[in-house]
């Protein structure tokens, strides 16, 4: 019998996008069929199959997740998002009092504050209602897109600076709970 080792990166990716209740069944099924496929095909073919299944499965799983009990999940995400915003404002005020409120300092400290509050928000929402994490990530995307559209930043910044907010913000919201889960895996299951 061939030794099976499912693509770790894809497993982590699924684990970070979907909450445990969803990714457990999906990953379990993919790993089970991956092992069956390894018996008849090459590892490359099995990996490609795993990749194709991941890419095609995630949209329908995310849609299914958004559709189910969406009202209560949105409510949780809104509460956590407001908490995040207040925390960011409070931290911003403290820092601008402590350091001179220079624009360059603002440009450097701004992203750090944003990522820390996104990480805290991701952790908090996952503790309250894990399925609401994806809504919080969507809120972060919408708020960043809105601030880019309204040109809130006081000084001109390069495109990659704004792109960093757009990608790293929702990633922090999604990845932090997944990282915490991988540090403390469920009993009887190896950490991914």
């Amino acid at each position: 019998m061939k030794r099976y080792s499912p693509p770790l990166l894809l497993c982590r990716f699924i684990g970070s996008i979907l909450p445990v209740t969803y990714n457990d069944f999906l990953l379990g099924d993919l790993i089970e069929e991956y092992a069956i496929r390894l018996e008849t095909t090459s590892q490359l073919a099995a990996c490609l199959w795993f990749l194709s299944q991941t890419c095609r499965s995630l949209p329908s799983m995310v849609w299914s997740l958004l559709r189910r009990d969406w009202l209560i999940r949105i409510r949780t995400a809104i509460v956590v998002y407001l908490g995040m915003a207040m925390l960011k404002i409070a931290a911003g005020l403290v820092i601008s009092k402590a350091f001179a409120p220079r624009q360059t300092a603002h440009v450097i400290i701004g992203p750090i504050l944003f990522l820390i509050t996104a990480a805290i928000g991701g952790f908090a929402v996952a503790r309250i209602r894990e399925e609401a994490t994806i809504f919080l990530a969507l809120f972060v995307i919408v708020s960043v897109v809105t601030s880019i559209a309204l040109n809130i930043c006081p000084i001109p910044v390069p495109w990659w600076y704004q792109f960093g907010f757009l990608t790293l913000g929702p990633l922090m919201v999604l990845m932090v709970p997944a990282a915490v889960r991988s540090i403390k895996p469920a009993a009887g299951r190896p950490a991914l």
């Binding site: 069944f25 993919l30 089970e32």
Partner: protein, 110 residues
């Protein structure tokens, strides 16, 4: 006689696959059954999304199975066809049968 609702095409295929698995199975088995029978390379996510929709309609029920080493220590979600699901299957099959009854020659020419 009570009549069930008409099923969508994917719902119909997924329920039929579950019936072929003695009315009970998890996502991977349903996906493989569909692939083997129809040649359609359906995604596991689409199977789960359909099964969840069927569960909301009370056509199937689900329970969590035991984790196994083959699944990397992960539990499986086992789905079971309920009486309402069987009724919906019967209604859909009868509807399709009655709609295609006199079309045999027409369909053969395609």
């Amino acid at each position: 006689m009570e009549r069930g609702e008409l099923l969508g095409s994917l719902e119909y295929i997924v329920l039929l696959a579950l019936m072929r698995l003695d009315g009970c199975g998890h996502g991977m088995l349903v996906r493989r059954e569909i692939e083997q029978r129809t040649g359609r390379d359906i995604s596991i996510g689409a199977v789960y999304a359909t099964l969840e929709r069927l569960e909301e309609k009370k056509y199937v029920s689900s329970f969590t199975g035991e984790p196994t080493p083959q699944r990397g220590g992960r539990a499986k979600r086992v789905f079971k066809v309920e009486a309402a699901g069987k009724l919906a299957l019967k209604t859909t099959e009868e509807t399709i049968r009655s709609m295609t009854a006199d079309l045999k020659h027409g369909l053969e020419r395609i």
